[in-house]
C-alpha cells in the first residue's frame, strides 16, 4: 500500500463571509500530476495557496509524507514550516516577477535556492545554474544578465529552473502559462511536461485552461464555488464527464 505524498482532509478557508474553499479532501501520490480546474471564484487559487503554506486555512488537515517522514503541515511551528517550505516544496507563480528577484542576475536567482540549503562553492553553484539554464533552454551566456532584460517566456522558464533545482518533493504551479503569448505558452508547457517526465516530479497545477490540464495532468479535480464538483483521471473527466457543470465546461472549449 503506497502512502500518499500529500493527504488533504476537509480543508476549508473563508474570507469573512465569502467562501474560498469548503471541505476539500484529496490525495496525491509520488510522481503524479494533479490538475485543479475551475473558473474565476471557484476556489482553486485559495486551495493551492493553503496547500503551499501561503494562506492559513480555517479548518482541516494537510499531511505530507516524504521519505517515510510525516509532516502535519498545519500543526508545526512557524520555523519548521518555513524550513519545510524551503526544502521540500516549490511554487511557480503565474507572474514570474513574483517568484524572482529582479535585481539579481539569472545565475543568482537560480543559485539562491542552492545557497539557502548550504551550498558554499561558487564554482559548483555556477555550473549547476548553467546546467539548469540549458535544461530550460535559456542561453547560458545570459547567466549574469538581470531578469529585467528577459522576455515573459524566458522569465517563466527562469522561475521554473529556480524552483526545480533542488528537486523539491511537491511543486505547486498557479496558472504557469497564463499571461504568456500562445506560442510562448506552448514552449513553456512542453518544458514543464518534459521535466515532469524526466524527473518524476509530483505536481499540483492550477489552471482555467482545460487543454493545459489535459496535456500535463494525470488526475484532475473540477472546482466550483469552493467545492469539488468532480474528480478522477484527466482523460476520464474530460471525455466522460459525469456532472452537469463539468459537461458544460468541457463543451465550452473551442477546438482548433
Amino acid at each position: 500500500m503506497i502512502i500518499p505524498l500529500l493527504k488533504v482532509t476537509n480543508l476549508s478557508k473563508s474570507y469573512d463571509n465569502i467562501v474560498g474553499c469548503k471541505n476539500i479532501s484529496m490525495s496525491l501520490y509520488p510522481g503524479e500530476v494533479l490538475g485543479i480546474v475551475g473558473e474565476s471564484g471557484s476556489g482553486k487559487t485559495t486551495l493551492i495557496n493553503c496547500l503551499s503554506g501561503n494562506l492559513e486555512p480555517d479548518r482541516g488537515k494537510i499531511i505530507f509524507n516524504i521519505n517515510n517522514k510525516e509532516t502535519d503541515f498545519l500543526n508545526i511551528s512557524e520555523s519548521e514550516k518555513r524550513k519545510f517550505i524551503r526544502t521540500d516544496l516549490a511554487f511557480v507563480h503565474q507572474n514570474p516577477r513574483d517568484g524572482l528577484r529582479l535585481n539579481v542576475s539569472a545565475g543568482g536567482n537560480i543559485g539562491e535556492k542552492l545557497m539557502s540549503v548550504g551550498y558554499r562553492h561558487y564554482g559548483n553553484i555556477r555550473s549547476l545554474a548553467t546546467k539548469w539554464m540549458n535544461k530550460v533552454e535559456i542561453d547560458k551566456s545570459r547567466i549574469d544578465d538581470l531578469p529585467i532584460t528577459f522576455s515573459g517566456g524566458m522569465l517563466q522558464r527562469l522561475q521554473i529552473a529556480k524552483n526545480l533545482i533542488t528537486s523539491p518533493n511537491v511543486i505547486f504551479m498557479d496558472e504557469p502559462t497564463g499571461g504568456l503569448d500562445v506560442s510562448v505558452q506552448a514552449r513553456v508547457l512542453d518544458l514543464i511536461r518534459s521535466l515532469v517526465n524526466e524527473l518524476n516530479l509530483t505536481v499540483i497545477i492550477v489552471s482555467h485552461d482545460l487543454a493545459v490540464i489535459r496535456l500535463l495532468a494525470d488526475k484532475m479535480i473540477v472546482m466550483k464555488n469552493g467545492t469539488v464538483i468532480e474528480s478522477g483521471l484527466s482523460d476520464q473527466v474530460l471525455e466522460d464527464p459525469q456532472q452537469e457543470y463539468t459537461q458544460l465546461l468541457v463543451s465550452s472549449v473551442l477546438h482548433v
Binding site: V104, G107, G108, L114, M115, R120, H121, Y122, D144
Partner: protein
C-alpha cells in the same frame, strides 16, 4: 554588601564628582532614565552577539547621519573615570571627530586622548585602530544601516524572520553577484560577518581590511544606529567570521603601498591627492598609529 533582613543592600560607594561641567545638561547629555534604557539594550545585545536590539533613539543635538547612535551608546557607557578617544576614518582631527569630542567635553568634561592605548572608551566612524585593542576597552562603532539584509529584503518583518530562522541563503547571493560581476567579492567595506556562528551582522562601513580585528578581540565592541534605532554588540573573545565561498575565501585587501610618512606596510592607507598635478600620496588612515611609528 551587607545582608539586612533578607534584603541585600549595595554599600554606598564613593561618588567621584569629577571636574565641573556645564550644569545645564546631565552628565554626558542624556538623562539617567535614557541611559538606563540604552544600557539595558546594550546588555541584551551583549548576550546575543550580532543580534539587533531595538531601542528608543533620542533626539540628539546633531542630525541623523552624524553618529547619533554611536554618541548615545558612548554617553550611556561613559563614567567620570573614563578616558575618551574619538576617531573618524581613523583620524582624531577631522571635523566630525573634533565636534563629537567637544560635545562630550562640554557635557561631561571627561579626559580625552588621541592615544589608542590610553583610551578606556573609543568611538569610531568607519575604522578600527591599527593598535590592537585591550581587555576592558569599550569600542563603539557608528552605524548607518544596521540591517545586512536590507539591500535584498526591504521588509523589516521579513528580515526579522530571516534572522530568527537563520535563513541566510540570500546573503550569499549578494556575494555571488559580486563575483559574477567583478571576478571577486567586490564589497570593500561593510563586509558582512557571521558572529558567534549565529547572527549575520553588518560591521558598519569599516574597510574589509579591518574585519579580522573584530575576531576574538579582548575589547567590548558596541554598535549604535541612531536613525534606525538599533544597538548590537560583540562581547570579548567572540568568533567573528567574514562571509565567503569555499573557492573564493575572504581576502582582507589593502593597497600595495607603504605609508609615505611612517613607512608601515601593514596598515590601512588613505590615498591623498597632494597637488594640482594630481600626484598621490598614501598615508596611514590611523593618525595616532602613524605618529607613534614616525616618532619611534
Amino acid at each position: 554588601m551587607r545582608k539586612t533582613n533578607n534584603v541585600i543592600k549595595i554599600k554606598d560607594f564613593k561618588v567621584d564628582k569629577g571636574l565641573p561641567f556645564d550644569q545645564e545638561y546631565n552628565f554626558a547629555y542624556l538623562d539617567e532614565n535614557t541611559k538606563k534604557m540604552i544600557r539595558r539594550a546594550i546588555i541584551k545585545a551583549l548576550c546575543i552577539p550580532g543580534y539587533q536590539v531595538p531601542f528608543a533613539s533620542r533626539e540628539m543635538p546633531m542630525p541623523y547621519g552624524w553618529g547619533t547612535g554611536g554618541v548615545q551608546v558612548t554617553a550611556s557607557c561613559l563614567t567620570k573615570r573614563d578616558t575618551l578617544k574619538i576617531i573618524d576614518q581613523g583620524a582624531d582631527d577631522t571635523t566630525n571627530a573634533v565636534s563629537i569630542r567637544n560635545f562630550f567635553k562640554k557635557t561631561s568634561n571627561i579626559k580625552t586622548t588621541e592615544i589608542t592605548e590610553k583610551a578606556t572608551l573609543i568611538q569610531t566612524r568607519h575604522r578600527i585602530p591599527e593598535t590592537p585593542l585591550k581587555k576592558k576597552q569599550i569600542f563603539v562603532y557608528q552605524v548607518p544601516i544596521p540591517e545586512p539584509l536590507a539591500f535584498l529584503e526591504p521588509k523589516v518583518s521579513e528580515t526579522i524572520k530571516m534572522h530568527s530562522l537563520s535563513e541566510y541563503g540570500a546573503m550569499h547571493v549578494k556575494l555571488y553577484e559580486d563575483i559574477s560581476k567583478n571576478g571577486h567579492i567586490e564589497t570593500a567595506y561593510a563586509y558582512p560577518v557571521k558572529t558567534n556562528d549565529r547572527y549575520i551582522m553588518d560591521p558598519s562601513p569599516i574597510p574589509k581590511f579591518d574585519n579580522p580585528k573584530m575576531n576574538n578581540s579582548p575589547a567590548i565592541q558596541l554598535f549604535g544606529a541612531g536613525r534606525e534605532q538599533r544597538i548590537y554588540a560583540i562581547p570579548p573573545y567572540t568568533k567573528v567570521k567574514s562571509l565567503d565561498f569555499e573557492d573564493y575565501p575572504f581576502d582582507p585587501f589593502k593597497a600595495e603601498h607603504a605609508c609615505d610618512i611612517c613607512g608601515s606596510k601593514n596598515t590601512y592607507l588613505d590615498e591623498i591627492i597632494v597637488d594640482d598635478a594630481g600626484n598621490k600620496s598614501f598615508i596611514c588612515s590611523d593618525t595616532d598609529f602613524c605618529n607613534k611609528r614616525k616618532n619611534k
